[in-house]
């Protein structure tokens, strides 16, 4: 599909495309209610609640007032809807602001100030300096004589440098006055979201006769939300408007990520649902039997002899309604609430603020904080993530001479300086490429200092270094570059720029020396992209060695090459290139092909080496997180050697003999296969030896491995705790994440650049470093942090606490719902299985949304261990990773607890209020008070640290319970009129409550104490250590502990991620003993037997 934008045509063609009204809103006033309701009801839980609520409208079966379900349901829906509405309103307001902004637009040949929303496709829009671009424009004219203008695109891609945009040649030099009358047509593709590509054509109509079709690229466009900078004015034709702009199209709601905890809660909800169905069927059948055998004899019930056809359904449905509270309606709201608080805690955290830029961490996705605590694999980018991405030119090798090897800084190397003095041609050419083989824009400030606006930090480093070596890049005016070398000014004309792509791995410029008229091709790029293209006669071995040597030192290398082009060769080629540039289909591929035609037979000049500093605290962070049992994979586009060096320097892998690095390489399928098998075998054997085994794979081998040996590679991925993948493309990064995810591992991807975006979006958790490569990664990520070292805090503190809190909160929600439900079920046994509700509607509603929700909400402040303790003992994260705090087993504990408490409450209130006291309203209030008291103590017992807020919520809630019930009891119209006053005046009521609390909590308390003291979990031990004020072993003191017994069997620290059991075995031991079953079949036999050995061993450890 193509679109045609007719320039300055005010006729009908404008109607073809929409106006420039931007709308980010999801709803309109009219469709808000239906659309929002539809969305909310597409979730299973909500459908369930709606069904229940509808069933309750049938008075024959409803045990309670329908309000008891409708109330909370409407409340929950109102909360979600209000949140949506508020967000949408804010979007509407910001849209309105943008839409009503006034811009100069040519309408009917006259320049007018109109609102931005009235711009139509084909209108010419005039912008002044620092104006925001209101829609996607094709540049038509600028104040600059060469037709250049500068834009800042930070809102679009996060890159803060200025980019040049150029008027298409066809419009070059047209007078500003004439521009208002210009006519023509722009042919361009239908709107898409690619902000780096625009393939269009421009044809002007008479009188601007230029029958040539003029190709348009992204360089000729001004995209929405960019800012015009350093240019007095510019104007352009609107091509995409409103939501059809590149930015508008790239908006979209990403698929919501579901945390492991959410999945577990869903699973448990499903289990409860099945349990509920079973209960309903059993009780329903029993109820029908009782009805037919007993109830017909109870004359006062007056059962009709002949019931309606649905009579058999009535009792089961009543029980269904009675049991519907088993699935707590409040859990979703509570979880949403606490999750947004977790996110706020991350935003607020002062310890995660970067002191240099005062940028705090930010949680974009507020729903997945628990997952942070369950991370098992971290996939990290290298440049900019582990390193600072502050590039400094350190060394170079020019024509086989190494500079900077002694001092470590080529800029101070006297040899190089003297070579420049003497004007060695290779050195000068090398410096020329450094200075101008790039897309850097020099900006001369008023005092004459030159600042460089560079896209990549590497280019910045090179230009800066060249400037220090006397080759100063002074000015870029249109195609003319000005450099000053040793006081002389040289002018070059840029004929073509062959831009960098990650496939070509090199970039070139074709320049013409204005003095001599000679044409040169200057190229820089990765060694494997340059060296093979070298002139057949040139020896490139020395450069290979140089590259090798530099990457050993962890330096980034670039190869520089040049070639002189004959004039006709250039002209011939430039036609091809131009044609490739103006194609609409497959342009990228065509351009790459065209580039290949000229990028050959290079004369390689040398190799530059750029240093990239490690960020602060990277080795410590990696060490801590690995102690926490998290496996690290490094995915980088860098060379293997550089990657390995960086990996070594940041503790990623251990040097020999402790560590072992296994290479997977090969150019063909067979080679890769063999190497893969070999590595797998080594891995399996070495798992029993105390060695850090890591594998290294490069992009090429990875491609083959992923294509043909996916299974073997997956096995390897499971075995290996550390991996380095170099020379990988963005899509391979995403594929690796996918592989780990398919093995059911929780993955966290961290990166800073645009090439990490896919990986970040693919991973369970994406973390973006808001760094130098722009905000692209940070925008796509779920969390953005400033420094890699904040990852420790994000995972160990925020992730862990969030997981613990959610685990408690969700299970507790089920507990309290089950508790009241069990009491209802027990009551049905003494009420003729007829489905009578013991509790009245108000109590039921208030119980769920009020009495039991408030105290547990403050558990968001609970800290089982202090932050310092967790940081010192990161291994404790294991409990979260393995899901020890929320799984079917712990849930069974809560289930049992609610059953036990229901028995306690029911038996005690039944017996204490027997005979003359067996009044329904009184009994129901006794049982309800029992439940509320018990839950207050349950929360108390499960709370590890009490802040003032917790006390307020727990005890205040009890006070509020009585206050509220006194209020209800004072209303003559309510069913429970005077009941609470009556009860509270009786000593026996208080004795009953006292008894319920102690009979209910005593055994649980005793059991907890016993476990805590005699079968403590690691968390308990650390709690004790921390709070006894005793010596908490810091990492330092552990090292001084004497090592005594050496055994051949591996100890199983909890860092053994592969063999953790998600099942909590509170009374036995904490040793993980089951392996994640991955269906790996026989290949794992060996490994498994190792595991069994070690788990047996570890149990022995714990028992002594």
């Amino acid at each position: 599909m193509k679109r045609y934008a007719y320039i300055n045509d005010d006729g009908s063609s404008q109607e073809l495309y929409r106006d420039n009204r931007i709308s980010n809103t999801k709803y309109t006033l009219l469709n808000f209610l239906p659309k929002n309701l539809w969305e909310q009801f597409s979730r299973f839980m909500n459908q369930y609640f709606l069904l229940i609520a509808c069933l309750q409208l049938w008075p024959l079966i409803t045990p309670v007032n329908p309000a008891s379900t409708w109330g909370p349901l409407i409340f929950i829906f109102a909360v979600s809807a209000t949140k949506e509405a508020w967000d949408d309103y804010n979007r509407y307001v910001s849209d309105k602001k943008a839409n009503e902004r006034e811009v100069w637009v040519v309408k009917n040949g006259i320049k007018k100030l109109i609102q931005a929303q009235n711009i139509r496709v084909g209108n010419i829009v005039w912008l002044r300096e620092n104006d925001e671009v209101p829609c996607d424009l094709v540049l038509m004219g600028t104040s600059d004589a060469q037709g250049l203008c500068y834009v800042e695109t930070s809102a679009l891609d996060g890159e803060t440098d200025l980019k040049t945009r150029v008027v298409p040649p066809a419009c070059m030099g047209i007078d500003a006055e004439l521009l208002q009358k210009i006519k023509g047509v722009i042919e361009c593709p239908s709107p898409d979201r690619d902000i780096r590509r625009f393939d269009g054509n421009l044809r002007l109509f008479p009188p601007f006769i230029d029958t040539d079709v003029c190709p348009l690229t992204i360089k000729n466009t001004l995209l929405q939300t960019c800012y015009l900078r350093n240019t007095e004015w510019a104007c352009g034709v609107a091509i995409y408007t409103g939501n059809e702009t590149k930015l508008g199209m790239s908006r979209g709601v990403p698929e919501p990520k579901l945390t492991a905890v959410d999945a577990m809660i869903d699973k448990l909800t499903g289990a409860i649902f099945i349990f509920q169905i079973v209960v309903v069927i059993v009780l329903g059948v029993a109820g029908n039997i009782w009805k037919d055998t007993e109830a017909r004899k109870q004359w006062y019930v007056k059962y009709p002899d002949e019931g309606p056809w649905y009579e058999l359904l009535v009792i089961p449905l009543r029980f269904e309604l009675l049991c519907s509270i088993m699935i707590p309606i409040s859990i979703k709201v509570s979880l949403d609430l606490v999750k947004s608080l977790y996110a706020k805690f991350i935003d607020w955290d002062e310890k995660m603020i970067d002191q240099e830029t005062i940028t705090p961490a930010h949680a974009t996705n507020t729903a997945i904080s628990e997952d942070l605590g369950q991370v098992e694999y971290i996939l990290t980018d290298k440049t900019g993530t582990l390193t600072e991405n502050k590039m400094i030119f350190r060394r170079c090798c020019i024509s086989g001479v190494f500079y900077g090897n002694e001092s470590g800084d080529a800029l101070k190397d006297p040899e190089l300086l003297s070579a420049i003095e003497t004007g060695s041609p290779d050195v000068i050419r090398f410096l020329t490429i450094m200075a101008i083989g790039n897309a850097v824009i020099p900006v001369q400030s008023k005092i004459g200092a030159i600042q460089y606006k560079a896209l990549s930090p590497d280019e910045d480093a090179l230009v800066q270094a060249a400037a220090k070596l006397q080759m100063i890049f002074v000015d870029r005016t249109a195609n003319i570059l000005e450099i000053r070398f040793n006081g002389r000014t040289i002018h070059y004309e840029v004929l073509e720029t062959l831009e960098f792509t990650s496939d070509r791995k090199k970039m070139s410029v074709v320049i013409k020396d204005n003095n001599t008229g000679k044409i040169f091709l200057l190229t820089k790029g990765a060694d494997e992209a340059i060296l093979p293209c070298a002139d057949a006669g040139q020896q490139t071995r020395i450069f290979t060695e140089a590259v090798e040597q530099y990457s050993q030192l962890g330096l980034r290398t670039l190869c520089f090459a040049w070639r002189e082009l004959m004039a006709d060769e250039y002209h011939e080629w430039s036609l091809v290139f131009k044609e490739a540039n103006s194609t609409l289909v497959d342009r990228e591929w065509r351009i790459a092909e065209a580039c290949q035609r000229i990028e050959h037979d290079f004369e390689v000049l040398g190799v530059s080496a750029i240093e990239d500093h490690l960020q602060d605290g990277v080795p410590e962070t990696i060490e801590t997180l690995r102690k926490a049992g998290i496996n690290f994979w490094m995915l980088t586009g860098d060379k293997q050697n550089t990657a390995v060096q960086i990996a070594l320097s940041c503790n990623f892998i251990s040097p020999e003999p402790k560590g072992q690095l296994l290479m997977i390489d090969g150019k063909t399928e067979d080679e890769v296969c063999r190497s893969l098998e070999r590595v797998l075998l080594t891995m399996r054997i070495t798992t029993s030896k105390p060695k850090d085994v890591a594998f290294v794979i490069d992009g090429w081998a990875l491609e083959i491995a992923l294509k043909h040996y996916k299974k073997a590679f997956t096995d390897l991925a499971i075995l290996s705790r550390t991996a380095i993948c170099c020379r990988v493309t963005p899509s391979q990064k995403a594929q690796l994440v996918e592989i780990l995810k398919s093995c059911d591992y929780r993955t966290l991807a961290i990166g800073d650049g645009g090439n990490d975006v896919r990986m970040i979006q693919q991973a369970d958790i994406g973390v973006g470093i808001s760094g130098r490569e722009g905000l692209q990664a940070a925008r796509a990520a779920d969390y953005s942090i400033c420094k890699f070292r904040f990852l420790t805090r994000l995972i160990l503190v925020h992730g862990r606490y969030s997981y613990n809190r959610t685990a408690f909160l969700s299970q507790y929600s089920f507990y309290k719902s089950l508790l009241i439900c069990f009491i209802q079920i027990f009551f049905s046994f003494v009420s003729g299985m007829s489905g009578t509700s013991l509790f009245n509607s108000v109590s039921l509603m208030a119980y769920n949304v009020f009495y039991t929700s408030i105290p547990v909400l403050v558990s968001v402040l609970d800290k089982d261990l202090s932050e310092e303790t967790v940081m010192q003992h990161p291994q404790i994260l294991f409990y979260c990773q393995a899901g020890r705090l929320l799984n079917p087993s712990t849930f069974a504990g809560w289930f049992g607890r609610s059953l036990f408490h229901a028995v306690v409450v029911f038996t005690i209130s039944l017996n204490a209020h027997a005979y003359e006291k067996s009044e329904m309203e009184e009994l129901s209030m006794v049982a309800l008070s029992g439940c509320v008291w018990l839950q207050a103590f349950v929360v108390t017992m499960e709370t590890n640290s009490f802040t003032i807020l917790q006390h307020l919520a727990i005890w205040g809630n009890l006070v509020a319970f009585y206050a509220l019930n006194f209020a209800f009891s004072a209303l003559p119209s309510s069913g429970m009129y005077t009941i609470m006053f009556r009860l509270c005046g009786q000593p026996s009521y208080w004795f009953t409550i006292f008894l319920i609390v102690l009979a209910g909590m005593g055994p649980i308390f005793a059991l907890k104490y016993f476990r805590y003291t005699y079968r403590p979990s690691k968390i308990n031990v650390l709690q004790q250590a921390e709070r006894m004020g005793g010596p908490i072993l810091s990492l330092g003191t552990i090292e001084s502990q004497p090592r005594t017994v050496e055994r051949e069997v591996s100890t199983l620290s909890i860092a053994q991620s592969k063999s953790r059991s998600p099942v909590y075995e509170p009374l036995l031991s904490d040793s993980p003993n089951t392996r994640r079953s991955l269906g790996a079949g026989g290949t794992f036999e060996f490994f498994q037997s190792q595991m069994r050995l070690s788990s047996v061993y570890s149990r022995n450890c714990k028992d002594n």
Binding site: R91, Q224, M920, S945, I948, A1006, V1021, I1054
Partner: protein
């Protein structure tokens, strides 16, 4: 900066960054509120259990004692009040309007009973809490005269066959208990005070003083007792008591009070009008005379439960002490941490062969 990039993955993050740039420091936002962090030390726990035992046992004893002090006479009369001729078919006897329902029972007061002595009737196997039954009433109708036509929820006893509203409507009122008791000691009749047997709040607020029974028990099927049509509902205390539905199938309801002391060994004679049909569902009827204490009537449950819980607490406390003495275990010993059992100089402590022997 008017960022319009909202929605989706990029909700105005630059704007968000601007505003989020300076988080306000507070102890709450930093999760650093001062907190009390108790741990379960043996001393603390054992003391708690001891204290529970020490508190509970006396309370248990006191309430058992109170319960024992209550003098209670329970006389089941349902089967004995069927004449032998109807022994095989009590239902026929009770449903026949022409049979003589009078029945005389007598029993001896075991201990002195101080006034007031409460008279209850006790029914078993009677499901006042049945779903069909418990809802079959209309509080609005009971409360005010203007609402006498309101009979929602009263089915199947809402209106007469002539569509006239029944006041009071519903199954509960319809099945009003109607046995009566007359007491005498040594041929001297004892007054039974039937005033104030219902809750004052019910009389004042729930049952109207201007609502009179209408069309009550006028259908083909007579349920239970009839009401005096000239008395307003709030003076029909038997009805008010009956309409406080019981939560369990076995329950007692207050019939009246005897306001003279009964001495030990006095013989009480009760003349019972045995009208109420519990026979076709096998419910028992009993007459209960009981005194009361601060804990209410005779109910040994609370006392026994307190003694049990107290005893168990003491037992637990003692066993915890014993375990503590026999096998002391230092709290927070880092050697329990498995990762401390291996050497720490390995980066992750995973595949280390060395082990510190603990304890």
């Amino acid at each position: 900066m008017a960022d319009r990039g909202t929605g989706g993955t990029n909700p105005d993050s630059s704007e968000a960054h601007e505003t989020a740039k300076k988080p306000r420091y507070s102890r709450f936002s930093q999760q650093e509120l001062p907190a009390f962090k108790p741990i379960l030390t043996p001393g603390w726990v054992i003391t708690a259990f001891l204290a529970i035992g020490v508190v509970f046992i006396p309370i248990g004893l006191a309430s058992l004692f109170a319960s024992q002090k209550v003098v209670e006479i329970l006389d089941r009369y349902d089967s004995d009040c069927i004449p032998a001729t109807y022994g095989w078919n009590p239902v026929k006897y009770i449903q026949d309007a022409n049979t003589n329902k009078t029945c005389t029972r007598s029993f001896v007061v075991p201990k002195q009973m101080k006034a007031p002595i409460y008279i209850y009737y006790q029914l078993t196997n009677f499901y006042q809490n049945h779903r069909r039954y418990v809802k079959s009433r209309n509080d609005k109708q009971l409360r005010s005269k203007s609402q006498v036509g309101t009979t929602d929820g009263c089915d199947p006893e809402a209106v007469t066959s002539g569509k006239q509203p029944i006041v009071p409507c519903g199954l509960i009122a319809w099945s009003l208990f109607n046995d009566t008791y007359k007491f005498s000691v040594d041929n001297r009749a004892i007054d039974v005070n039937k005033k104030d047997i219902a809750w004052k709040s019910d009389r004042d607020q729930k049952f109207g003083s201007d609502v009179y029974p209408r069309n009550f028990q006028s259908g083909d099927l007579i349920g239970g007792g009839k009401l005096n049509n000239s008395l307003p509902l709030n003076e029909q205390e038997d009805l008010i008591v009956w309409m406080r539905t019981a939560a369990f199938p076995t329950f007692r309801k207050l019939y009246g009070r005897i306001e003279v002391d009964l001495e030990a060994n006095e013989r009480i004679t009760v003349v019972i009008e045995n009208n109420y049909n519990t026979y076709n569902f096998g419910g028992q009827k009993s007459l209960v005379l009981s005194t009361t204490t601060w804990m209410g009537g005779r109910n040994g449950f609370l006392g026994a439960a307190y003694l049990t819980v107290g005893g168990l607490s003491l037992f637990l406390a003692i066993s915890f002490i014993l375990v503590y003495v026999v096998k002391p275990r230092p709290l927070g010993d880092p050697s329990y941490l498995s990762w401390n059992q291996s050497s720490a100089d390995n980066n992750d402590g995973r595949r280390t062969p060395s082990v510190t022997s603990s304890i």
